[in-house]
């Protein structure tokens, strides 16, 4: 396992920001930090962007890219550090202020009004008005929108409703909006995620236009081929820290991957040795029309199978399909050697498959219900139909048993889940699924957004699960968690299984490379 030692933010492999001859940056971030409830999201982040250049922002899932973008666009306010625009210090109290200053973002979750027309979407909130009646000047809005699209050389009907547009066309609307505001800096957060090849080429052409017009572009992508094609320079961040910046011409893909994943500290994971038995859950050629294709893997008894991939690679979708939540799924699933067909979560639970979803606020816990009722919810039918007398006592006993096992910190079992901390909420959700006595438990991002102490408790608990004979599928976007906990790692990319690594072979570089869909040149790393 190679660990790049980088304890302090040192510029690496690239020129210093103000090298000789380089123009002053349009936008400069120095020492930006941001914390959420004590969790550090950004720590001393630096970024320098010059007019007419494309800066690639590179980092793993959770490295802080999104937080950085939200800080830049005024959605978050930084706790420390300085932002300067054209050499003048600025601070954005709201998204409008950032927009007024000329910083706009083409988000993954786009700021779009589906029912309004294309032209109106560009000018919404600032429509030009005429006359004493302050009547909206629709002619001017539509003419200017047409002019913008003519400039972008994009053919888009300005009166079409946005809900009828493709993803790419929506991006063009956002870019037109940015242009209409004379944006100095345009941030593109994975703009190519759902585009076709032809649309991507069109996007590249527009980025080139923006460059030529002197607009600075921040380009966020996980695809290295795109980054090399579009961007001039790069900034790498990791765990909220600035790692390196430089010219893309001076660095190779594998060097970038090393910068992304290199870790200063080895976190200790409480992985206990469990006897791994024969195959328990075998999945073959699982397909869905849009979400995933040809997915196959085997989960063995007593194994922790890690699932790694970039956000949106289709991991959660596969798990939801296994749990019977998705229609139109084809493929073979065998449990204990017998083929099973799961079309509803109820059937999945009956087969002994439990799924703990990623978004516990929305899918996992019933926040306004007591802890006890949350835990016993999936097994109520086993306790009895009328929960009276002895049945009621049995329900309480089950709830108590699991909350004690999970070291749940709560005043009493009738406390509402909403009043608990994130970590304890997660424990309630885990307890709920353990009560179903599953054979296979699928944990989707079990430690997302919970504090470090609770994380350790959850990790300890996962280890205990397998020693008791359960098999665990651990879906996580946190590389150290996957590498620390899993016996094998399945890496998904674009809805397909890219590679499966044994624990010993799963180096951060290889896993990240596989998740990014690139083949590392591994002459000295190859272990066979």
């Amino acid at each position: 396992m190679s660990v790049t030692q980088l304890s302090s933010p040192t510029p690496h492999g690239g020129a210093a920001p103000q090298s000789t001859g380089a123009p002053a940056p349009v936008l400069q971030l120095t020492g930006i930090s941001k914390r959420f409830n004590g969790i550090v999201a950004l720590n001393g982040m630096n970024l320098n962007i010059r007019a007419g250049e494309v800066m690639a922002l590179i980092g793993e899932n959770g490295a802080g890219k999104s937080t950085l973008v939200k800080t830049l666009t005024g959605i978050y306010q930084p706790d420390g550090g300085a932002i300067t625009l054209d050499g003048k210090p600025v601070s954005f109290g709201s998204p409008q202020e950032a927009m007024a200053a000329g910083i706009t973002a083409v988000h993954q979750e786009t700021v779009m009004f589906d029912e309004l027309s294309v032209a109106e979407n560009i000018y919404v909130g600032r429509q030009p008005v005429t006359g004493t009646a302050r009547r909206i000047d629709w002619k001017r809005i539509e003419a200017e929108a047409e002019a913008l699209f003519a400039r972008l050389e994009v053919d888009l009907p300005v009166r079409a409703r946005v809900k009828d547009l493709s993803v790419a066309q929506r991006h063009f609307v956002e870019i037109a909006r940015a242009l209409s505001q004379e944006a100095r800096v345009v941030i593109m957060d994975e703009p190519t995620a759902a585009l076709s090849q032809r649309e991507i080429r069109e996007l590249y052409r527009i980025i080139a236009q923006l460059k030529a017009a002197g607009t600075a572009v921040i380009f966020i992508s996980h695809k290295f081929d795109e980054i090399y094609q579009v961007a001039d320079r790069y900034t790498v961040l990791r765990d909220g820290n600035f790692v390196a910046e430089g010219n893309l011409a001076d660095i190779s893909e594998s060097e970038l991957v090393a910068l992304m994943v290199g870790r200063a500290v080895h976190q200790a994971y409480p992985k206990e040795v469990a006897a791994i038995g024969g195959p328990l859950l075998e999945v073959e050629n699982l397909c869905h029309p849009t979400e995933f294709d040809g997915v196959g893997f085997t989960l063995r008894k007593g194994e922790i199978l890690g699932f790694y991939g970039l956000v949106g690679a289709g991991r959660s979708e596969v798990m939801q399909a296994l749990f019977g939540m998705t229609a139109d799924v084809r493929g073979t699933v065998r449990l204990d050697g017998k083929a099973i067909r799961v079309t509803t979560p109820e059937e999945a639970i009956a087969h002994g498959i439990a799924y703990v979803p990623e978004d516990r606020q929305h899918h996992g816990a019933h926040l306004t219900m007591p802890i006890m009722h949350n835990i016993t919810l999936p097994i109520l039918s086993r306790i009895g139909f009328f929960l009276l007398g002895g049945k009621r006592a049995a329900e309480t006993a089950i709830a108590r048993h699991f909350s004690e096992q999970l070291e749940l910190k709560a005043n009493h079992l009738t406390q509402h889940v909403a009043e608990l901390s994130g970590g304890n909420q997660q424990k309630v959700v885990l307890g709920k699924w353990l009560a179903t006595e599953p054979k296979v438990i699928i944990l989707d991002e079990p430690t997302k957004g919970i504090d470090i102490g609770s994380k350790a408790a959850v990790h300890r608990f996962i280890s205990q699960l397998v020693t008791r004979g359960l098999s665990v599928i651990l879906v996580s976007s946190e590389l150290p968690e996957v590498l620390g906990m899993a016996d094998r790692v399945v890496v998904m990319h674009h809805g397909r299984v890219q590679r499966v690594f044994e624990r010993a072979d799963a180096t951060p570089e290889r896993v990240v490379a596989a998740a990014s869909g690139i083949e590392l040149v591994e002459n000295n790393l190859e272990v066979q």
Binding site: P95, Q96, F113, G125, I136, D225, D293, D328
Partner: protein, 329 residues
């Protein structure tokens, strides 16, 4: 072809067909005086449906309109009956201002305190209705207590049409302008379409909500006077349950309860549709109890039509084209 796809056009067609069908059974329904009556009867519903439409477009709802109408109407009736010399314009202005005030209370609670519209207006619906009783002591204000001009105004004809129709026409024009050609109106659509995004784009959401409920209240106030004067009586149960007729008109008119969708012609036609049903059933000698069942049926059909094609597909994760896959792999 495009016209046929417009739901407003389809709705207008349905209204015309409905009138025609009723006319086949009872030709008296098609008499000019009967049709004129139909239009006059529909005016209050049309006006209230228009402002309710704007409220629903913001993902809100105003359940308090009918209570507001009753309270403003009672204020106007009592004011006029106690001060027979007071000019009618003052009485009407007071009714509108009372309605506006009551609407702004809703708007402030919903906009600035960000409380859920359905709960707030459910509460004020009862409060305002109760206030009518408190104000009047449960007594009626009847025709003989009201000044003559107070009662006469709504049905007085100007250029051959009653004032009610002129007012409704003016309201239609005003709302059409508001909804399409003002920042205020467009912002309502943006707020209802994507509240989060509306904030990002810099729309003053709280202020817009305050005034849209204020507008709904002001129109309810005006309709309060018109209702009380038209039927020449004011009492606690005036327009009891009418808020649901107003909301039904909007739903039939294609206004989406989910917000962001709704048009002035749609709301107007929805109101007309319900008025036709309401006026036709007595002519056809159908029990009035059928009316609510029929209205309900029409709402269900309208919702079913609106719900078509809204099932979501999965996310697009797989590359769309084969040449993408090559570059991605």
């Amino acid at each position: 072809m495009n016209l046929l796809k417009q739901r407003e056009f389809l709705l207008a067609l349905m209204v015309v067909i409905l009138i025609g069908l009723v006319g086949l059974r009872a030709p008296v329904f098609l008499a000019p005086s009967s049709l004129a009556n139909l239009v006059t009867d529909s005016t209050l519903l049309v006006m209230l449906a228009l402002t309710q439409m704007l409220v629903i477009v913001t993902r809100g709802i105003d359940l308090s309109v009918a209570s507001n109408l009753a309270l403003s109407g009672m204020v106007a009736a009592m004011l006029a009956s106690h001060n027979p010399g007071l000019p009618l314009t003052i009485v009407v202005a007071v009714a509108i201002l009372v309605g506006l005030g009551l609407g702004l209370v809703n708007g402030w609670l919903i906009g600035y305190l960000q409380l859920p519209p359905i709960v707030i207006t459910l509460g004020t619906m009862s409060v305002y209705r109760g206030m009518v009783f408190v104000l009047s002591g449960g007594a009626w204000v009847s025709a003989h207590q009201m000044p003559h001009d107070f009662i006469a105004f709504p049905l007085t004809r100007l250029l051959g049409l009653p004032h009610l129709v002129w007012l409704a026409a003016a309201m239609l024009a005003l709302m059409a302008f508001l909804a399409r050609h003002t920042r205020f109106g467009r912002d309502l659509y943006a707020v209802g379409n994507a509240p989060q995004c509306a904030g990002y784009i810099g729309i003053p959401i709280a202020r817009r909500l305050l005034w849209v409920y204020g507008l709904s209240g002001a129109v309810a106030g005006l309709c309060g006077y018109l209702w009380v004067a038209r039927y020449a009586v004011a009492y606690t149960e005036v327009a009891y349950g009418f808020e649901f007729t107003v909301i039904a008109a909007c739903v039939i008119g294609g206004v989406s309860i989910g917000g962001g969708i709704g048009s002035v012609p749609g709301a107007m036609l929805g109101a007309l549709f319900l008025s036709v049903i309401g006026n036709a059933l007595p002519v056809l000698q159908v029990s009035p109890f059928w009316q609510s069942a029929l209205t309900g049926l029409v709402i269900l059909i309208a919702v079913l039509i609106n719900a078509r094609g809204k099932t979501s597909r999965g996310r697009q994760i797989l590359p769309l084209h084969t040449n993408d896959m090559k570059s991605a792999a």
